[in-house]
Symmetry: C2
Subunit: 419 residues, 2 copies
């Protein structure tokens, strides 16, 4: 079995050695001296759990920087939808690869992805060694024929997913309440329950979504999903910006995981008053995501932690809100829990999904408070080395094949915008 040793790395205020056997952290001690296949010099580095990017659309990296500073509707009608219609499988493959490189660079070891061609996105991620949950995206715009076609294709993709490696799992991805019919939502829920799958959905992202739902159905979006029977512990709901106190209670009672995406919410002006304290109080598992690069422009989870914390402090007018000690769990452990993966903690017996931070840079001087330095002063660029499932994905800021990926992704994007 492959043995890897991280020597003398800084962790929670002291230096230690960390042994990885195969895919798993097997021993943490002051000093470990056994023959191993690979040793990583941990001096001047800190060890943290890898991040779980719990809501993204990976291949949308190809849209980065398209249609900036315009309203949501103009952005959708003039950029996103016309160009999405031109996407082919090759473009999606290289877009997802670009996303992987970028995610690995900021210490992300797992992501909850939602995009077309999930099997292709899976292949891109596995080739770079990343974990992911790949959702089958379901949009039917309330048309029965589309819904019927989805049922067949979803079942087929699910069958094929049985051959996927341990790095990837399959989930059901009904897009949102305004793009999927109630019957389809019920069908997808039943399917997910039957096969023990996660259900990944956008929920309560914008005020329009909330108000339209109340007007049309007399129910908030959350209450509507509850009445349909969708909500349960297998549900990962992205955004959750527009929630009533009753909605928050429902989400807590049903064991739903909610993914906060501060960058996207800010940039699209969807709303910035994410109710962290109230959701936590209700027992909701709160995770963090970058969303796709079409809206948030990057996939940097350190930046997402920073924005989440700064926003809570600002809108609540309370600098004590969303403290540092909770942020790492939100960005790592909670996302892993939502995806059903035993990682996000550096403990013996847990999966070796890890990131090493380079401390020899201005943001980490002085060393009064490591987590404050990482989250408030640094950014994803501080990550030096990334390990996922016991395998090195980046070492000394080098990722194998990165140059070719950047070139191919650029080619695909150029092809995409060609008239």
């Amino acid at each position: 079995m492959n043995l890897m040793l991280i020597k003398q790395v800084w962790m929670n205020g002291k230096k230690c050695d960390v042994l990885i056997e195969g895919t798993t952290i097997s021993k943490i001690a002051d000093s470990i001296d056994i023959p191993v296949n690979k040793t990583i010099d941990g001096r001047h580095k800190a060890l943290i759990p890898g991040f779980a990017n719990t809501h993204t659309h990976s291949a949308m990296t190809l849209f980065r920087g398209m249609g900036e500073d315009i309203s949501l509707m103009k952005w959708l009608h003039e950029y996103i939808w016309p160009y999405e219609a031109k996407l082919d499988e090759e473009m999606i493959y290289w877009g997802a690869k670009l996303a992987c490189v970028e995610m690995i660079r900021s210490g992300i070891t797992a992501c909850n992805d939602m995009y077309w061609y999930p099997a292709t996105c899976r292949r891109a991620m596995e080739e770079l060694g990343m974990r992911s949950v790949q959702s089958y995206v379901w949009i039917d715009f309330f048309e029965r024929e589309r819904a019927e076609a989805h049922k067949i294709k979803l079942a087929l993709t699910h069958k094929q997913a049985a051959a996927w490696s341990e790095l990837t799992s399959f989930s059901v991805g009904p897009h949102a309440i305004y793009s999927v019919s109630g019957d389809s939502l019920k069908w997808a829920t039943t399917f997910a329950k039957e096969y023990g799958l996660m259900l990944h959905i956008h929920l309560a992202e914008s005020q329009t979504e909330y108000e339209d739902c109340v007007k049309e159905r007399g129910l908030t979006p959350t209450r509507y999903l509850y009445e349909l029977g969708v909500l349960g512990p297998n549900v990962v709901a992205a955004h959750g910006v527009w929630l009533s106190p009753e909605d928050i209670r429902i989400l807590g009672d049903c064991g739903v995981s909610v993914v906060h995406n501060p960058n996207s919410n800010l940039k699209l002006a969807s709303g910035y008053k994410f109710k962290y304290d109230e959701l936590k109080e209700a027992g909701v598992r709160i995770c963090l995501g970058t969303d796709g690069c079409a809206s948030s422009n990057n996939l940097d989870m350190v930046e997402a932690m920073k924005h989440a914390a700064l926003l809570q402090k600002a809108w609540r007018r309370d600098p004590a809100s969303m403290p540092l000690k909770e942020l790492m769990d939100v960005a790592s452990l909670h996302g892993y829990e939502a995806m059903g993966i035993r990682a996000g903690k550096i403990e013996e017996g847990w999966l070796a999904d890890l990131a090493l931070i380079d401390l020899r840079q201005p943001a980490f001087v002085p060393n009064h408070n490591f987590y404050a330095n990482l989250i408030y002063a640094a950014n994803g660029g501080a990550v030096d080395t990334v390990i996922c499932n016991g395998r090195i994905l980046m070492e000394g800021k080098k990722i194998e094949g990165e140059k070719q990926i950047l070139e191919m992704a650029q080619q695909m994007a150029t092809k995409l915008v060609k008239p």
Copy 2:
């Protein structure tokens, strides 16, 4: 005269050569071929003006990460003030040097600094080749004796500043309306006018400052400064978060420069509704700052641009607010104008204060929109090479002497917190 040539660098959509003679940009053309002392390979790089960090307290890098997630009053009383009382000149020197390294790393070529020992901060900055305006900080807490002592010391420091190099200028820094008496503010204003100096002050940072002033004086902070005769084109006012419509008119009419510090405002929960559109409409010159590391944790102007833009979009609920094309001027040209320095534009005859961005990283792929990639996707870590006053301060991400500076700054910070 020293000749430097940047070959084939990307600038505003095309490749060009840029010639620097001495301190100045002397020629920009498709191709320049003359013998020079130094050539910089501009391929895979973009050229931008260096950033002007128009409000900071450089040596407060030593406080980075101290007293996180606590209320402003607790932070001041338990951390900032007790530790500031322990600061000596050596600590300030190394704190300012650490700040310089960090600023240069994110492309900052000039800063408007306000801290104790301005001559020491100046020395630190000049040794690393950075431009700065150093303010004499004046806090008298309405005590006449302190005010008299300041008058003598300010005049003395001003005399000594005559020997400073062209990189540094001296300014008057009455701290704020709640820490400086009205008489002192008038005296400082007269002194600044007599010697043609900039006046650097905190203004309308918190709601408390605003409401206390209205209660005590029946005037808003801005109106109070106006009545004292303080406001004029030489005034650089940091923050300006709490402003009435009349305040905004006054600031515009008097030609005041206002410095937005989004990170600090968010972190300290001072207020996030900076009135960018209204201030611009009133003709106010809007600049950008990082504030000190005690509150904002880093000195990254790319991050500051990002936060400024995202916040405007979010609180106004308008994704079109504070568009990309205005952000670079806010972060560079306007700050330079406020400090009276002819830089912040890449044009023949302008000072060579420049930064080169490394485009071979995920944030710059695809290349649909360079400024969107720089501001929304990247961060200060994208800066590869920095030139100030025609001299190279960083090349290929290397700054001479950085290792020693980080070590010495750490030593000083350790000494600072020792019981």
